[in-house]
């Protein structure tokens, strides 16, 4: 069994090379029916790095259902298309108005707002077209393709990341703070992370009772991931400035740290990670890398 801290490293060691290779190939494939500037803009954001957590989770879950990474790859690619589309639109001036993402200029800073909006739209639609046609080609049965891509669509839509971004940006949609940060984390982060795990797992022939375990794992892992992200946002910024982490550091943005304070947020991260671990234990009583991954999340805040 793997040590918690090395779980992501182990996961990426297994699948990241394959994934990046495929993504690069897709971005470089000549396609006369797509305008050059639109292709450049989509590729710029797709190839801008990132942990690729969603595709890696999808490939790992699929393999545990008996579907190898080659055959599950179209779903992993579609997940990254959707995640990238949401980042491009979230960065827009009318949203979070960010100039930098992962240290590089955001899409609209390089290509302008018009192209950034279109690149996000194009990636969103492409995600569905790509997964529907390529999963079929890899021999995944039609009913499983349909179910898996439906889950992806739900996660990307009004009850998923769009709803979450709405709550996060629209002052009129805000509720009581402590419930509210959970709601945002659920819609904006957990629903897509859960979709990654569940859509991967359901490509194989597994019963609904097992899918339910992946479903709960994905939800709790996603919430834990958002809490840890909020915590690192505060501690890493303040440490870089040589300051002690403070409760109100996140300013106007509502985060788990602003709602609960740093120590309570850390405790919540541990609680959600443990829930994720427990959800998968019935499937893997001897332990599993996905269980280690949940454990490693909470460790990151210490």
């Amino acid at each position: 069994m793997n040590n918690g801290r090395s779980a992501y490293k182990h996961l990426s060691g297994q699948y990241l090379g394959l994934f990046e290779e495929k993504l690069k190939k897709i971005c470089e494939e000549p396609n006369d029916s797509v305008p050059d500037r639109l292709r450049e803009s989509m590729s710029y954001s797709l190839l801008a790095g990132g942990k690729r957590l969603r595709p890696l989770l999808c490939l790992a879950a699929a393999e545990r259902s008996g579907v190898g990474p080659e055959n599950a790859m179209p779903m992993a690619i579609a997940l990254e298309f959707i995640h990238t589309a949401s980042l491009i639109h979230d960065d827009l001036p009318c949203m979070d108005d960010d100039d930098l993402r992962r240290g590089a200029p955001t899409n609209h800073k390089v290509f302008g707002e018009t192209i950034a909006v279109l690149a996000g739209d194009a990636l969103l639609s492409w995600a569905f077209g790509y997964s529907l046609s390529h999963l079929r080609e890899r021999g995944i049965p039609d009913d499983r393709v349909l179910r898996a891509v439906s889950i992806l669509a739900e996660a990307a839509g009004p009850s998923g990341i769009c709803g979450g971004q709405m709550l996060d940006t629209d002052p009129e949609s805000r509720g009581e703070e402590r419930d509210f940060v959970y709601q945002i984390a659920y819609y904006k982060t957990a629903v897509l992370i859960r979709a990654a795990v569940v859509s991967g797992a359901m490509l194989g022939d597994i019963p609904d009772s097992m899918l339910r375990c992946y479903y709960d794992y994905g939800t709790n892992l996603g919430i834990a991931f958002q809490i840890v992200d909020d915590i690192l946002d505060v501690t890493s910024t303040r440490e870089a400035l040589g300051k002690t982490p403070r409760k109100d550091d996140a300013q106007n943005k509502r985060t788990f740290v602003s709602a609960y304070g740093l120590e309570e947020a850390k405790a919540l991260a541990v609680r959600e990670s443990e829930k994720a671990e427990r959800a998968l234990e019935p499937l893997f009583p001897e332990g599993d890398l996905l269980i280690d991954l949940a454990r490693s999340l909470a460790d990151r805040t210490n």
Copy 2:
């Protein structure tokens, strides 16, 4: 057989009531998992009227393949979701910057840019989720659902309306004017109109040779539709001002009228409509409402 001019009226008489009723019901269905303001914004644009040409074409083609409007309805709804999403985004300040659409304030004028971007994104994803799950429920076989929704995704993506809008708005993507207006009409309009016809037809059990007829019909009908739209844009505006139509009326926007002049554009509309009619004639040697519809398009410019 129907007179050309009354073809749209006849088509809408058959399906529009059913379609509007279903769309209204979807917009009014309570859904706790979607933020209220996002629902309001999507419904505002979905219920803002329009000819509903794409859903009507889909329902008509489906019925000709033996699939009744009730069972084809989820595809018709998905087409309108995608069309509406593209209109909301096209109207944004960073795109065409339109304040009015069909005489009413555009989505971003009522709800702001942030919500307008999210409403478009949400409708796009919802289109795929809605059609995948509801077509299945209506008993359409999985393989047909997969193929039909793939066609929808392709039409909405980088090789479809996103690519077309890119060509239309990005000065660097522009080519020689006469080819260029055809390209824009193809990607921005014809691909989705063709998807409406083909995705409807393929819900039933029909051979690929017949689908090919619908495919060609949809392409030419879509091009004809755009030419007529460009012509009416000029003639109706200038007539309202009591002026004679003039070649350079469309100012900066590249249209069939600016590229070819009014008279040649009218001749092109007739040519494309006739191509559409001829494409369907092998399937309906005795005539059909869809053939009449193509004929009626060119008539509208006289």
